[in-house]
């Protein structure tokens, strides 16, 4: 077992867990943050996406010991039910979510994309979200939600 100490959604946490525990399981089973979803478990689908030190990663492929001292942001750290993040609000308004399994990962991938490309082209959106699979929406409404978020951010400047 290892004591793993890191910053999770703005607060410092310490967890005693086997060092090879997948970050996904550390979040869901040890810390009871079930917003991060498991899809394929092999880094193909992006459902388990979280941000580690601002970089998008698949939490199913991260051994927990490697987040010692890091800053982790999950969907729970982005917005709250009573105060949605603008990305979440745009996904809601544009119908960018149906069954919801891919949605937390999609939203974190969008966050990562907009940090790098505040006004992304459609190609940049497609590439930025290409590691996140959605079997419901057909993607167009998701792309519209991303464009709407970028537009709102630009108008809000």
């Amino acid at each position: 077992m290892s004591i793993i100490t890191f910053t999770l959604n703005g607060s410092q946490v310490s967890v005693d867990a086997p060092p090879m525990t997948r970050l996904l399981d550390l979040l869901r089973e040890h810390l009871h943050l079930t917003g991060t979803k498991e899809g394929c478990g092999e880094g193909e689908c992006g459902s388990c996406s979280v941000l580690v030190d601002g970089e998008l990663v698949n939490s199913c492929l991260v051994p927990s010991l490697q987040i010692q001292g890091a800053t982790v942001t999950t969907i729970e750290g982005l917005g709250e039910q009573t105060h949605l993040h603008p990305i979440q609000q745009c996904f809601l308004e544009k119908g960018g979510a149906q069954c919801g399994i891919c949605t937390p990962g999609m939203i974190l991938a969008t966050h990562h994309l907009l940090e790098k490309h505040p006004a992304p082209t459609l190609d940049e959106i497609r590439e930025g979200l290409s590691g996140n699979l959605c079997r419901c929406t057909g993607y167009m409404r998701i792309f519209e939600a991303v464009q709407q978020t970028a537009k709102l951010a630009e108008a809000g400047k």
């Binding site: 290892s2 086997p18 060092p19 090879m20 525990t21 997948r22 399981d25 478990g41 092999e42 880094g43 193909e44 992006g46 996406s49 970089e55 998008l56 990663v57 698949n58 199913c60 492929l61 991260v62 051994p63 010991l65 490697q66 010692q68 991938a109 990562h112 497609r126 590439e127 930025g128 290409s130 590691g131 996140n132």
Partner: protein, 284 residues
């Protein structure tokens, strides 16, 4: 079935020297960097090694620097690092392209060049680019360092020259390909993220109509990342004519040994490899 993580150990000594000492003391230790390969095996209950040592965030391995016309990439360089580097974009565009093909952005943020090389998959995206840029590779262990041409690193299917306790330290690329014609094409199931059915990378220096230098390497054409020396020899010093293209295709067909697997068939790979070679030769 998923592995029980309690059966596995992982340590993170925090410096390259400490990692090398630990590897020297315990040859059973398996290095893990970004985890994009080994953690997949863990997830499906197929991770054989049970004692692991982390290379993640070792500063000594994560660097990109240029000195006297040689670009050196530390083994811990991520594919995202490669895509963000201006020198690589200018001198080695094929490496940037293949980095962009290596998994999704989340995987590129974690996966490392050294890990991709050490994993030694014949389907890997970046090795063909390194081969056609004449890369050398530097290895390090508690006993010292050694450097060899990258073309000599892979010995067979998933077999490399790495000795127990030895790590990849860096890859070096000579900055002398700016005037070469450069080509890479991957054929896979979808553009993003799919592992290639086959890929071909090539560089050639032309002297008028004559091919003065040529380097070819592919993915999933033989059992390891490898140059296609026999095909290169047919083209070297010649002008591209219809007869030469036929000879080159014949050389390629006898040199490569594609296989049937879940991603494609030997027959398809053979046909497409010849088409890609022809596409490159016609562009010269």
């Amino acid at each position: 079935m998923r592995s029980d993580v309690r059966d596995y150990t992982l340590t993170a000594p925090g410096s390259l020297n400490a990692v090398l000492s630990a590897l020297a003391a315990n040859p059973r230790l398996t290095p893990v960097a970004g985890g994009t390969e080994l953690m997949v095996a863990l997830g499906v209950g197929r991770l054989g090694p049970h004692e692991l040592i982390s290379l993640h965030r070792l500063k000594e391995l994560r660097f990109i620097e240029e000195h006297s016309g040689i670009l050196t990439l530390g083994a811990g360089t991520t594919f995202t690092d490669i895509r963000r580097n201006a020198t690589i974009a200018r001198e080695f565009p094929l490496l940037v392209q293949t980095a962009a093909w290596t998994g999704s952005i989340a995987n590129q943020n974690r996966g490392t060049l050294g890990g991709n090389i050490a994993n030694a998959s014949p389907a890997a995206d970046s090795p063909p680019a390194l081969l056609v840029y004449d890369a050398t590779i530097e290895l390090v262990s508690a006993n010292g360092r050694r450097t060899l041409p990258y073309g000599e690193f892979h010995l067979g299917y998933k077999k490399t020259v790495l000795l127990p306790g030895e790590l990849i330290y860096a890859v070096r690329l000579p900055c002398r390909f700016a005037k070469h014609r450069q080509y890479v094409r991957k054929v896979g199931t979808r553009n993003a993220q799919a592992i290639s059915k086959i890929a071909l990378a090539a560089t050639a220096l032309m002297d008028g109509a004559t091919v003065r230098e040529i380097r070819l390497a592919g993915a999933s054409l033989v059992d390891r990342p490898a140059r296609l020396h026999a095909t290169e020899a047919v083209v070297l010093g010649k002008a591209i004519t219809p007869e030469l293209r036929t000879l080159a295709a014949a050389a390629l067909a006898s040199e490569i040994k594609p296989i049937d697997d879940i991603r494609s068939t030997a027959k398809y790979r053979m046909a497409v490899a010849c088409n890609l070679l022809d596409e490159f030769l016609l562009s010269l």
